[in-house]
């Protein structure tokens, strides 16, 4: 029986032996009180060292699979290996409406998938080739030697203290008055937005946002059962007249805006319009959730203050920030800056949901920020993405017949076509191995069928040109013109 065991190279032999014996016991092939070969016999049978066998036996004893009788040998424990009668549940029938809706709105599952050889303009994730792994390692090793044990044990729901302090300062540097405010660390923007809606809204509440807007935000608003009212967005930000009209008509619980490098249009709301937006919402007492999306990726123009800065000592703006869009999305770190009272409630919800965000990730990320590595990285990243952005814009103007090309920064541009269905276009392009994100997924209503978002962060210049050309050609075939 044991001589059939195949020992492979990629795992410790004692673990392989232990697991093999376990599986024999669980399958009933080794019975209770059966004696195992002595370590000497087993070692010679498998051609491994006796120590290896003894180590495996000790583990099995620890785990209660065997017992050792002194001077007599090692015996199989009396494990009740029984499988009860089969009982199957049709889980499809058990999923509630939230579960069903989550699946339905799960774009990753339902949109065209990337396949080998394709040029994909779907992603707006940062290009991992730009990550400075060596500096990240340094930060990791530094934190480990300073407080390794500590950050590997439980942390606090609110977040890692030093990171919170760093981010408060970071927000101050954006012009935000942090008096009476506090920060909660979250697993990225997504969790931050979900927590805020979980804490403040009830099913059926009205919420205001730009139309189009970030599709993940739309998903989360829908999952909360909110009535989403979108306001059109133009070159300087939301249409303020439409906004005021909506505010006059209905009562809103809260609003959500992306003033900088808006997703998907890339529009930057002007300082004047930020102030106007703020004042209109103030008049109707509708608090603002400000999405700090990609604020770090400005390429030109004067610095624009976030809405959270305009509010001064006021507490009506909830700012959600994240570096994930620029750096290390894999470690999922974001933050909510808001009024202290509100932060307290958000903290309790966070604790109920998942205790806290990885302390290790927070600590290493803090070190990376503090060490100046982030500054160095962001300079490099800005330069490279800016070049790509300018190149992509040029190619789009050259090759893609359109009504409008939008985007002032970030990692994507947004295109409005002339009477062309972007899903039909996607189908055609897909045949030629080019994919992109159809714009309709960013709309809160049934508009946007003639729009698309082109993310370029992870596409080479060659492929940007090649891909855009193909998109342009297919548009022309569908009857579009420059």
């Amino acid at each position: 029986m044991f001589s059939n065991m195949k020992i492979t190279d990629n795992k410790f032999v004692y673990i392989q032996l232990k697991d093999y014996i376990k599986s024999m016991i669980l399958k009933g092939l080794l019975r209770a009180d059966e004696k195992l070969p002595s370590s000497r016999e087993m070692a010679s049978m498998l051609n491994v060292s006796r120590n290896t066998v003894m180590y495996a036996y000790e583990f099995l004893q620890d785990e209660g699979f065997v017992y050792i009788k002194k001077g007599k040998g090692t015996f199989v424990s009396d494990i009740k290996v029984s499988v009860e009668e089969k009982w199957n549940i049709d889980w499809e029938d058990e999923i509630n409406s939230y579960g069903k809706l989550s699946e339905k709105l799960d774009i990753i599952k339902h949109e065209t998938k990337w396949q080998k050889g394709m040029i994909s303009f779907k992603s707006i994730a940062p290009d991992e080739k730009l990550f400075n792994i060596e500096e990240f390692k340094k930060s990791f090793l530094n934190r480990m030697s300073l407080e390794g044990e500590k950050v590997l044990n439980y942390g606090y729901a609110k977040g890692y203290k030093y990171l919170i302090e760093y981010l408060l300062k970071y927000m101050e540097n954006k012009g935000v008055d942090i008096e009476g405010k506090d920060i909660l660390i979250t697993n990225g923007f997504t969790e931050g937005f979900d927590l805020v809606l979980t804490c403040l809204t009830n099913k059926g509440d009205n919420i205001l946002c730009e139309n189009p807007t970030h599709n993940t935000a739309i998903k989360i608003m829908k999952l909360h059962g909110l009535n989403i009212k979108g306001v059109q967005i133009g070159k300087k930000g939301v249409d303020l007249q439409e906004l005021e009209k909506k505010l006059k008509r209905d009562k809103y619980k809260i609003s959500y805006f992306i003033p900088s490098y808006h997703n998907p249009t890339g529009i930057v709301m002007s300082p004047e319009n930020r102030a106007k937006l703020y004042n209109v919402l103030k008049n109707y007492n509708v608090p603002i959730i400000e999405d700090g999306f990609n604020e770090e990726l400005r390429y030109s123009g004067t610095h624009v203050l976030p809405i959270a800065a305009l509010s001064g000592k006021g507490n009506s703006v909830i700012y959600i920030g994240s570096f994930s869009k620029v750096l290390f999305p894999g470690i999922r770190i974001g933050w909510i800056l808001s009024d202290k009272v509100l932060t307290g409630y958000l903290e309790s919800i966070k604790r109920a949901r998942n205790i806290h965000t990885s302390s290790l990730d927070q600590a290493v990320f803090y070190d990376y920020l503090k060490s100046g590595s982030f500054h160095k990285y962001i300079r490099k990243a800005r330069k490279i993405y800016r070049e790509k952005y300018e190149f992509a814009l040029e190619c789009a103007q050259k090759y893609i017949p359109s009504r409008e090309i939008l985007g002032e920064g970030g990692m994507h541009i947004f295109i409005k076509l002339k009477n062309i269905d972007s899903r039909q276009l996607l189908e055609k392009c897909c045949e030629r191995k080019v994919i992109f994100t159809p714009g309709d997924i960013f709309y809160v209503d049934d508009r946007g069928r003639d729009t698309l978002r082109l993310g370029f962060s992870r596409v080479s210049e060659d492929n940007i040109e090649r891909g855009f050309k193909i998109i342009g050609e297919e548009i022309e075939k569908l009857g579009g013109t420059i």
Copy 2:
């Protein structure tokens, strides 16, 4: 103005200078189009290198705070620094019932807090002194060199592929048939449990569990608005007669059990009772959520199969596992093993909630598991906790007058007192700088006022003895006897 700037040692000078100038601009102390001192002047004023100043200026330009006129110098950009009229919201009034309830049930906020010099038996977190930081570092560096860029970029909602494969094998080694099942990686048990309830239950549904049970689970069930029906637990697990009575009377959506080293009682459900429990619930078609809590910390006796193993090819058991209770809770990794169809829905909810669990943490943890470090650690941890457990048990029997002392493993024992209110006892003990967890928080009804949980994982033997003596003395003062 600039000569007032204080340069400190703990941060790069160019960052300090940049932040200082930013804050001057944001405060309106530097006006639009004002010329900054030349890099030469500034360098001599601050006694820093000219390069440092130039670097700071370049950054400020990148961020849109200054502009450079060739041959003329560096000038302040026209940033619209305006603070609008103050607008305050009374957030207390805006929090919904879920937020209020989260705060109310947030034990961390409301229970007695540890203060310096106290002996605390509240924690059941692992002792970080046992963590092998060197091996963890090795795993980190190994993953970084193999796929650093990859794991720092976006991953998959379902989890890191290699970790999922490892855990499937791990579950097989516990005797679980994984055919037709799959794993979703979560941020610890807490998120796993919340996701399952989010996907399957509706407000007002009945749920069955042990009474007492894990207090975090109670909190989550309450936050989902479930009717929690507790079944008493004895030395061999839940009272099966009471269970059947309850099943006859009401319809249950789902059930939740902790068969191994039950929290808070430390009871291990016998193999026979696991089978009976399974069959009773099968008869009433009530699916089981099995909490694999601390299964790794068995100290004696024969291996007991999880309920998930008894179900064979059936799909009615949802197993939630986590190593956080034993190792590295700071990195928040757990998993749900369940039917593939169900896993698909859970994955979509996970994606909607926070995209995915940190890929970095998953990858490093996988490496740590695979490298054999986990095996070595768990042997050491088991030995040390076992000694502590035996010592704590002995001390409890010696010093603490009680009706019953429970606990067969893990990192805590549970004590039932004779007619003594454990909150009153806590108050007395707290005066003498000893704290513990009053047992009532683990009960789904108003029972348990005469119980307490004593966690010993992070308390030295000396302090265990000293603390238990004090508890015993205070019990006697309150009229208790051994």
